[in-house]
């Protein structure tokens, strides 16, 4: 086969990105994808800084949604406390950021610290869960309990200081630095537009990276673990270790999103680990379709946009709306809206599947 860049490179890239484990494998899908991404990148020219700022946070939530889709939808680990890791990442970023900004000049170390701390904390919890043979709904109960415990602890930190950061109890941590670009003395804090672009880029990279992961060797193993752990073990896979890795890395991704969120608002408080906060990502992922990536992305964006609008009407409406949507989707589209729409679309167009299998089997070189 010729390796001369151009179409060959695109074909190889598509080979990595596409497969039976993710939706959207047609050329039509990728044109649509490019249009959406293109629109994301011209959006700053079409709107005002306030809208841009709000959208940046939606993108952060979408990264959180992706992390939950992979651990729950694909791997079958019902992590009801993904926001505990989101919150841990946010607090870690805040504490390290505030403490070190004078020393390092930037927030790179704080981002790194947020990811490392959440990966380690989740690995510890995961180790006791998976090697203690805790499965199914008990994982949900335990992870939710961890989030709520985190909330209770943070609420009681009124006069607690770590490093240069005051945790502030219910009032939260204020004065968290914005994201910076570059390192050391050359660090530049990002403005609203630059931050928007950076987070948008991270979101697109996360989505594409997870597609590559899910269509790889490990993607198949994660699905297999979700479907039947015993069968998967008896095909030679170390199920507990793989669950631990999946749990910790997706928690790390949630912690990363938490760090972005703290940097975005220059603020974090304990509600991020509360019951409502823990439920909301579950709702996005369920409504969108938990064993897809595109579903949780669309649902997180749409539901957050609507929630923001409703919250200007009155305080209770958002939760009522989210609860109602959740119940209706679970009752009528248990697999989520996007899979339901795709199924309907395929029925109508007579398209059995959206994978272009135009005989990619090549003779060995």
């Amino acid at each position: 086969m010729t390796d001369a860049g151009g179409p060959g490179a695109i074909a190889r890239l598509r080979d990595l990105l596409e497969g039976q484990n993710t939706l959207g494998n047609s050329t039509r899908f990728w044109y649509g994808f490019l249009v959406v991404v293109g629109f994301m990148f011209v959006y700053p020219f079409l709107t005002n800084p306030f809208v841009l700022k709000v959208n940046t946070d939606y993108f952060v939530w979408m990264i959180l949604a992706l992390s939950l889709a992979v651990v729950w939808g694909y791997t079958g680990i019902f992590n009801f406390g993904q926001t505990a890791f989101f919150g841990l990442g946010a607090y870690t970023f805040g504490i390290v950021g505030i403490t070190l900004i004078e020393v390092t000049g930037g927030t790179n170390v704080a981002i790194l610290a947020a990811v490392v701390v959440t990966v380690l904390a989740s690995a510890l919890l995961g180790y006791f869960m998976f090697y203690g043979r805790i499965r199914g709904l008990y994982v949900a109960i335990l992870t939710l309990a961890v989030a709520l415990t985190g909330n209770l602890i943070l609420v009681r930190t009124t006069n607690t200081t770590i490093g240069a950061a005051e945790l502030g109890g219910n009032n939260g941590v204020t004065g968290i630095p914005s994201l910076t670009l570059g390192g050391g003395p050359l660090s530049v804090p990002l403005g609203i537009t630059a931050q928007y672009y950076l987070v948008a880029l991270l979101l697109v990279a996360t989505y594409l990276g997870l597609r590559i992961l899910l269509n790889s060797y490990y993607g198949y193993v994660l699905l297999a673990i979700r479907e039947d752990e015993d069968r998967t073990r008896m095909l030679g896979y170390d199920v507990r270790k793989l669950k631990l890795i999946a749990f910790s890395l997706t928690a790390g991704l949630a912690g990363f999103a938490g760090a972005l969120h703290a940097a975005w608002g220059n603020f974090i408080d304990p509600t991020v680990m509360g019951l409502t906060a823990a439920s909301v990502p579950i709702i996005w992922v369920t409504v969108g379709g938990r064993d897809t990536l595109i579903g949780p992305l669309v649902a997180a964006y749409a539901l957050q946009s609507i929630s923001t609008k409703l919250s200007t009407v009155g305080s209770g409406y958002t939760n009522i709306f989210l609860g109602a949507v959740f119940v209706l989707v679970v009752l009528f589209f248990p697999d989520g809206l996007i899979p339901a729409i795709v199924a309907r679309w395929r029925e109508r167009t007579g398209d059995g599947h959206d994978i272009d299998r135009s005989n990619t089997t090549e003779a060995e070189a």
Partner: protein, 250 residues
């Protein structure tokens, strides 16, 4: 005689004094068992005889209370199940354990990818699909297949790991007579390719078709071992297990 010694032959699987007690219940009682390489052995016995527990001790799902398990000359008593699989052992579960929500191809991909990658895996999947006659159902969801096809799919998944020893726990449960016969032919083909096979089976027709030798368990102990003719001719075996079927044979 409760054990038969094949000291000179290379045993792919050997258990010595294998015992499993659950509280006061002794599910497997001092079983010393040898399976020479290249043999098809059927393991029979009435419900509660200890067949399933014995298999679980072999695969490592249960740890024995006493005794050891040797696989291909190595003591594997302390190895975890997935490590045993990597040593060359594979199992088809008693209850159908395909990945019901995944497609036939995804099922086989999970089973093959540890050994083959890329185009190799695709070629191997094609071969397996051809072998079990499910090429047309490649993109069908496994849970939507007919019962017998699901059984075959799982047998194909167990084979896909390219084991030295294939353990089949009631592979023909719920199959038609014709499907059972075809399964028997498949098992015989596998042995010709060099596998050793241990089958837990209730269907005496399949036992007659494939077994080189038969091991009979009763109440956790090994009752006897022998050829199909020896076992079906044995009065004790007739009494505990084969009574009805044995009368029906010419």
């Amino acid at each position: 005689m409760t054990t038969s010694q094949h000291g000179d032959e290379r045993a792919i699987l050997r258990t010595d004094g294998l015992t499993k007690r659950f509280g006061g219940l002794t599910a497997v009682d001092d079983i010393s068992f040898r399976l020479p390489a290249g043999e098809i052995r059927c393991l029979i016995g009435p419900n509660g005889a200890g067949k399933s527990t014995f298999l679980k001790l072999v695969t490592g799902t249960h740890r024995p209370t006493e005794g050891t398990v040797h696989f291909d000359g190595e003591d594997i008593t302390d190895l975890k199940p997935h490590v045993r699989v990597r040593r060359g052992m594979s199992l088809k579960f008693q209850r159908i354990s395909t990945y019901r929500e995944l497609t036939v191809e995804q099922n086989l991909r999970v089973a093959t990818q540890r050994i083959h990658d890329g185009q190799d895996a695709t070629r191997r999947i094609d071969e397996l699909l051809d072998l079990i006659g499910l090429t047309a159902e490649r993109e069908a969801v496994a849970g939507s297949l007919a019962h017998g096809d699901q059984q075959w799919l799982e047998i194909a998944m167990a084979m896909a790991t390219e084991p030295k020893l294939l353990l089949l726990d009631e592979p023909t449960a719920g199959m038609t007579i014709e499907e059972t016969r075809e399964t028997g032919e498949l098992i015989q083909d596998l042995v010709r390719e060099g596998m050793s096979i241990l089958v837990v089976e209730h269907d005496i027709n399949l036992v007659r078709q494939v077994a080189d030798r038969v091991t009979v368990l009763n109440q956790g102990s090994m009752l006897m071992e022998g050829t199909v003719a020896e076992v079906t001719g044995n009065e004790d075996v007739k009494r505990i297990y084969l009574g009805k079927q044995a009368e029906g044979t010419a």
